[in-house]
Assembly symmetry: C2
Homo-oligomer: 454 residues x 2
């Protein structure tokens, strides 16, 4: 058992230094989508891990991608893999930020900046906790393997290949994943997997350059063509109508459905947070929660064509583009989703519409009891004073499949930084200052239980 | 009959001064969409007209719009209204300009700058020609009324109201419109009207802010909603399917169809210029030209939603927007088009999609023989050495309706500045230097014949 009082006192004594360090980390604009600041961010992390005493390595990825960081510290009968990512989403739209996106800003008990929730806060809190552990408890009683990715926000495009090539580094008894936090009622929520994802662009080309719109009766308009093609992929009731897409979805076992039905669902508060009075299609909460957890999606994330600034420009666009993501469930793999969409478009004559895959991740939706799961539950009771809500998986995605399912290592997403209005991927992303320190205390207890239960 | 030799000699002798003056006019960035430079441009024109000896007035328009300019010069039994506009399109995208957009640049016999074709070249050439006339022929044998607009490129949003309020100023026997020039085969093309236009935006709102796309099973996606709504307005064969829209289109008389079938149509060159091997739906040229001239359109000019920069952002957009223009033919007025589209959307449950009208102009597609038409044909033969192609109307739009149809004054678009690669509304807009002076000689002959035929 750790001496929690000494650990907490160290954290308290170093509070300001820890937050200064967090501000420094957040100030590096590690936007993977634009290859901005990612090498600087990786270098910063390597130095931080070395300062901790870890053996840290950086692995270059193809096409100037954000380096993978792998670090080891401690020795013991058990090994814990800790996954986080240091890249962040683009900060646009800039005009909606109330403070500069990469300047850590304190307001009303919050810390506000791009990446504080997703995922730099949890990442650095875990490192700083290990520093506190070493300073107050002595050497770690287990081996920790940090796997810090820099391309999570662009779909972990190189992670599967990297894990296959570095299989020898990745043995572990449990994976502590990113994420975890509070729901709308203040309950801690943990998950043991996630949906998969396929992210792609559709491109449609018309004339060689934008034309005067009086030519519309003569010349194909790629914006109309893209709209028509898209309209065959989903109906007005938001049902996916891609040929065969819903047919491959494996029915989930009743046990999974029962777990989902038993989950708390703060639907009224969730809707209030996003300014809507009803769910789509006026679904009731039971149906909504099942759909949220169990169904694949097909989401237009972006649409662009022609003139989009203020006022009128009578232009016939030369190009149109849509960005689309599919959240995937068993047995819908990224490869299968891609093939079904391509065939669906071809069958309807849209062979000219180009489909560019940008990212793909398999779903990881098989759960099991495990030591890491039990350690997380105990740590939650002990430090946060409550039984966690164990969500079978997140409706979001992440590279759980290559690091957990493929390697046969149980996983849990558990922490205390996320909260319902954290605005990840949005302007004014934020976490509570106190949750940053709560995450340290929780993670220390999790490790303590994970080692004791051996 | 004018003494053409003396007139031409004066123009030749003042060639450099005329071009310097043109450079000065072009240098004023009269971008109506952004209310840039329009008051400066109007002041410059008033001074130029006063220097000519005209009685010139400027009329302020609502909301700081570009002033209307009205000027009179000359006396005689006939009155000619001359319509041009001094505003220009925005110069974006800047990076595609090979010289600064507002610096008149001479290259390969061309003059290059924003607005040289549309419509400052023709406007100033007409003024400078009157100077040459007065200097070499004595007083004008007719009254000329210059109507110079500064909001043509934003849909002449105030012109109809202004014409109604200043009806007493606007009597005339003919209107000499802007435009006119060469087709792909070097034939002079004139027109006697134009299609109308309705330009509007559709706005669809979902959640109060962009969300993580994992929430897609729960929350309405305005991009999908807009795509579904748009897809009900046109089918995959590019036919407009707005309830009642095509039903109100008046069948055109066979005489008009015959005139269109007889028009030369440089279809192969046109397609080559835009990089396409076929017209939409593989139409043959006869069908294509009829469709171009006779049918209304519904064109997506712009589409915007969510994340449109490079790479992936897994976002559920809060908003989606489309910019749409309708080219209108009899009896489809802007007001009727707006009402039909609104009702069509409402009938399908899209009452939440907001429709914002930005501009509307009635079609002006009734042609008749007239003195101004005959004068233009004679002047073309005499000065440019060819029979013009008389297009019944342009497939584009302009405020012909309030200044010609409503006032019962015949109109012709005739000049020699436009050519097929003039790139109006695009980077590197240009006209030929010699066409600038040809337009002066042509316009002098047109006035001469217009007066003689009285």
């Amino acid at each position: 058992m750790i001496d929690a009082a000494k650990l907490y006192a160290y954290i308290e004594a170093n509070r300001e230094r820890f937050l200064d360090e967090f501000a420094e980390f957040v100030a590096i604009p590690t936007v993977a989508a634009q290859k901005r600041g990612v090498h600087e961010g990786a270098d910063w992390l390597i130095r931080r891990l070395q300062k901790l005493g870890a053996k840290a390595q950086s692995f270059d990825l193809p096409n100037g991608g954000s380096p993978m960081i792998f670090a080891e510290i401690g020795e013991g009968p058990r090994t814990l893999m800790v996954y986080n990512h240091y890249d962040v989403q683009p900060e646009t739209p800039l005009e909606l930020w109330e403070s500069p996106p990469f300047a850590l800003t304190f307001r009303d008990g919050l810390m506000i900046a791009r990446g504080v929730a997703d995922d730099k806060g949890e990442l650095l809190a875990r490192i700083q906790m290990i520093e506190a552990w070493l300073a107050t408890q002595g050497p770690l009683p287990l081996k920790i393997k940090f796997v810090f990715e820099g391309e999570e926000e662009i779909g972990s495009v190189n992670l599967t290949t990297w894990t296959h090539e570095h299989r020898h580094l990745l043995d572990a008894d449990g994976v502590l994943w990113e994420g975890g936090g509070y729901d709308e009622a203040g309950r801690i929520t943990m998950a043991e997997g996630c949906k998969g994802i396929a992210y792609f662009e559709l491109h449609c080309q018309g004339a060689s350059h934008d034309l005067h719109s009086s030519l519309a009766p003569l010349i194909v308009n790629p914006a109309w063509r893209l709209v028509q093609a898209l309209s065959t992929m989903k109906d007005a009731q938001d049902r996916i109508t891609i040929d065969g897409y819903m047919d491959v979805v494996r029915p989930m076992p009743q046990t999974a459905i029962d777990r989902i039905d038993a989950l708390p669902f703060e639907s009224a508060k969730m809707r209030q947070n996003v300014g809507l009075s009803t769910w789509i299609n006026d679904m009731d909460d039971v149906i909504a929660l099942r759909r949220f957890m169990l169904e694949p999606t097909l989401t237009i994330c972006g649409l662009n064509s022609g003139y989009t600034d203020e006022g009128t420009k009578t232009v016939l666009p030369a190009k149109a583009m849509a960005k689309i993501d599919c959240r995937l469930v068993p047995d819908l793999t990224p490869e299968l989703a891609q093939r079904l969409i391509r065939e669906h478009l071809d069958r309807r004559g849209y062979t000219d519409i180009e489909m560019v895959m940008l990212a793909g991740e398999h779903p990881a939706m098989e759960t099991q009891d495990s030591a890491i799961r039990q350690a997380a539950i105990k740590a939650c009771k002990e430090v946060l004073g409550q039984d966690p809500v164990m969500t079978p998986w997140f409706a979001g995605s992440g590279p759980v499949y290559p690091l957990s399912v493929e390697l046969g290592i149980p996983v849990v997403s558990a922490g205390a930084t996320w909260h319902p209005n954290a605005r990840a991927h949005s302007p004014n992303e934020n976490i509570y200052v106190e949750d940053y320190f709560r995450t340290m205390r929780f993670t220390a207890a999790l490790i303590d239980h994970f080692v004791q239960d051996e």
